[in-house]
């Protein structure tokens, strides 16, 4: 039995798309390899930024509950513990999504349209001692504290001062950990000032132009060596600092999880501003392969709010392509979401992303 739309990934982008499409009458199945839906939303215990139309001021976790409720009402089918491992073009216009279900057996879903909302993965950072137990991705630490209610350690060094590094440091502190410091090799803090200020006023130092030299410990992290760096990012002798910590978190950026788009034959562009190799797409979030759409971090690293807006655009566009939404109606809805997106990418902090996203759409039209 062929599906209308299979969405891979039940994070903010996937669920937002599912709701929009299902409301227009599209038969939607969402697959996710995790045991529960929501992607990263349920780890986001902080209040979101933005405007009213972006659900600003509401905690990510609550936005997650809202989305799930909306999915339920719109009769979206969600298949959990189900990993998608390939996208194939079948005969006719159908697309085959290869999946491994919870019984570990291979099977496939034939569908008219696929939306890849697979999100991103954390970038690793290698340094002496990085394989010691206690060194982990900031996202992993966030999963431990916010989903599993387990504090990974008592005293933490955070590497990376982007929003992830800042927010996870704050949340680790909320969970009762001491944050020895947040360090960043760049001369300026990567994340937003308000996130940084929440930390500094509690006495957590944010050390820019500092890098990790080594993590030491017998069979787990015991101390972290950090040094100040010069303009070439080389450590300055004599500037070494030692932090007695049991946990080192790495928050040095994210990369789009775009393997399925590669396997589906989508054309890519390399845009470091968006996290690396990303599939090019048009205004409707459709890739260069017919009937393969993308939304969220797979189309460039941003945040949950933008992911949801992109998901909505994809959901509306897909409903239109299946003949379930009139063009004028879809166009109006899309324009509205584009306005929201534009606001979220506004200001000097959003400018780089905004330009890169525009470039991605321009590249779609260049063959």
């Amino acid at each position: 039995m062929a599906e209308d739309l299979v969405i891979i990934g039940s994070g903010p982008a996937g669920l937002a798309a599912a709701v929009e499409a299902a409301r227009a009458g599209v038969k939607v199945t969402v697959v996710d390899e995790n045991a529960s839906p929501g992607g990263q939303l349920f780890k986001q215990i902080h209040k979101f930024f933005g405007s009213e139309e972006h659900q600003a001021g509401i905690r990510g976790i609550d936005i997650g509950y809202r989305l799930l409720e909306e999915c339920h009402l719109a009769k979206v089918k969600v298949m959990l513990n189900t990993a998608a491992w390939g996208i194939f073009h079948s005969s006719g216009n159908a697309t085959t999504v290869a999946i491994k279900n919870k019984n570990d057996s291979l099977c496939s879903l034939d569908t008219k349209v696929v939306l890849l909302a697979t999100g991103a993965r954390e970038n690793p950072l290698a340094f002496p001692g990085w394989t010691l137990p206690g060194v982990m991705g900031a996202g992993a630490a966030q999963t431990l504290i916010n989903l599993h209610r387990i504090r990974p350690g008592n005293r933490v060094l955070m590497i990376g001062s982007g929003n992830v590094g800042l927010i996870v440091s704050y949340q680790l502190k909320q969970a009762g950990a001491d944050i020895a410091a947040v360090i960043d090799i760049k001369p300026e803090i990567g994340g937003w000032g308000v996130h940084a200020a929440k930390l500094t006023r509690t006495g957590i130092p944010i050390l820019c132009s500092h890098k990790i030299i080594e993590v030491r410990g017998l069979d787990k992290v015991e101390e972290a060596h950090v040094a100040r760096v010069d303009r070439e990012a080389k450590s300055i002798p004599g500037s070494e600092k030692l932090f007695k910590v049991d946990t080192v978190c790495i928050a040095v950026g994210l990369s789009p999880m775009a393997e399925l788009a590669w396997s589906g034959g989508c054309r890519f562009a390399y845009l470091p501003e968006l996290g690396g190799h990303v599939p090019v797409h048009n205004r409707s979030m459709e890739t260069t392969r017919n009937n393969i759409y993308i939304a969220g971090d797979i189309s460039g690293i941003e945040e949950a709010s933008t992911a949801m807006e992109e998901g909505k655009i994809a959901g509306i566009s897909i409903a239109r392509s299946l003949g379930l939404l009139k063009n004028e109606c879809a166009e109006e809805l899309i324009r509205n979401k584009e306005k929201n997106l534009s606001a979220l990418r506004g200001g000097p902090m959003g400018k780089t992303r905004k330009l890169a996203k525009e470039k991605l759409i321009r590249l779609f039209n260049i063959c």
Partner: protein, 409 residues
């Protein structure tokens, strides 16, 4: 770009690179031109088998046996990188008692050709490869067979060729081959013209396109082979294994060991023969190659789909099911990659090597067995061009074995 050369090789796969090495040892000014990059097609995506038990009597077997002789010496004396050459023997599995019976005659025949292949019982097979399923009722084992890293081997040949003075141009496309009174005089490339009297078509699955530049029909077709690569795991297999089609009748069993891609029925293949149209994925042979790094390369599912490089769900599922059936412990192993490559295919399963009706235009293409043949083919081709004595006879591999070839000329 150089303006002239004594010989120009078209194609930077294993055959082209080996030919470049052996030619450059003998003559100056050898140029290799590659449209993409060295080992960028099939030579970078195959199982790296250097086998003789499956080779057909004649040139095919002679080339494989000669290569098995040469490789260890190349590794010792020539290559400047480790090609992961390991002579661990090769194993062909079968699954029914009828096949075990049919294998007896096959082993006798092979032994008479000098191939030291042995018949192993299911128990003996599993003592060598404990991970194999109890469904395996026996195997053909040949100790004098090897495996290698095909990508490194191609690269090693390319570097050896450069050391001998060959020039390699990558990212350069051949646009035309120009003749003067029926003989090769130059080639035009995307980067300019090169004057030369010798051109070697080593373009693998694209040999037909290059042949057409001198008005020759070269019946090599892209045979799409799909493969899976597992994550790195603790050692599960020692050597490369090949499966066979499950035979349930004695007729089927008798066919188990016909590797001749025997579509010609003993007749000479025809120059106009097209590859079979039907999908043959379901009857593909199983391959499992343990790499030095701990990955296992699993194959294959073959069909003819032109130059469509996509993998298909059906094919990958067939491979996965075969793998699970034959090596049950693979059930819980993750797949990290899949690929489709274009194995060059000829109607009789034998490559096309040698001179042609066009003076100065040589062919060394159609190797579904490039890793097994490359050193021998390169050596023999260099001998043919420079006029030195041949280690193996090339005659049977010539394109003129195809009926209708002369009419084409």
């Amino acid at each position: 770009m150089k303006k002239s050369a004594q010989a120009v090789i078209i194609g930077g796969g294993i055959i082209g690179c080996a030919a470049a090495y052996y030619l450059a040892k003998e003559i100056d000014d050898v140029i290799l031109i590659e449209k993409k990059c060295i080992a960028g097609e099939s030579s970078g995506a195959n199982y790296g088998m250097v086998w003789q038990q499956t080779r057909q009597d004649g040139y095919d077997l002679a080339a494989a046996r000669r290569s098995l002789e040469i490789y260890p010496q190349l590794c010792r004396e020539v290559f400047d990188l480790d090609i992961e050459y390991e002579e661990k023997g090769g194993m062909t599995l079968f699954f029914t008692d009828l096949q075990a019976e049919a294998a007896k005659g096959y082993v006798e025949y092979k032994n008479s050709l000098g191939v030291p292949v042995r018949l192993l019982s299911g128990k003996e097979t599993r003592s060598l490869e404990p991970a194999l399923s109890s469904r395996v009722t026996g195997s053909l084992f040949c100790a004098e067979e090897a495996q290698l890293n095909p990508f490194y081997t191609t690269l090693a040949f390319a570097r050896a060729a450069q050391k001998e003075g060959a020039t390699i141009y990558q990212g350069v496309e051949v646009l035309s081959i120009n003749l003067d009174r029926g003989a090769v005089c130059s080639i035009s490339t995307s980067e300019g013209k090169i004057f030369t009297n010798h051109v070697i078509n080593a373009a693998g699955s694209w040999a037909g396109t290059v042949g057409a530049m001198v008005g020759l029909k070269v019946p090599v077709f892209p045979h799409r082979l799909q493969s899976l690569v597992t994550e790195q795991i603790p050692k599960l297999l020692t050597r490369t294994i090949q499966g066979s089609r499950i035979a349930r009748t004695s007729e089927e069993a008798a066919k188990t060991f016909q590797y001749a891609y025997d579509t010609t029925g003993g007749n000479r293949p025809c120059i106009n023969q097209q590859p079979p149209a039907e999908c043959i994925i379901e009857s593909s042979l199983f391959y499992a190659k343990p790499t030095v790094n701990g990955n296992i390369v699993l194959g294959t599912a073959c069909d003819f789909a032109g130059y469509n490089r996509e993998t298909s769900y059906e094919a990958l599922a067939v491979i996965a099911h075969m793998a699970k059936m034959i090596i049950p412990r693979l059930k819980d192993v993750n797949i990290i990659r899949s690929w489709a490559n274009f194995d060059p295919w000829t109607a009789d399963g034998i490559p096309i090597v040698g001179e042609t009706g066009v003076k100065g235009f040589f062919i060394a293409a159609g190797h579904g067995t490039g890793m097994s043949h490359a050193p021998a083919t390169g050596e023999a081709l260099a001998g043919l061009i420079t006029g030195s004595a041949a280690a193996i006879p090339l005659g049977e591999a010539n394109i003129n074995r195809f009926t209708g070839y002369r009419e084409e000329c």
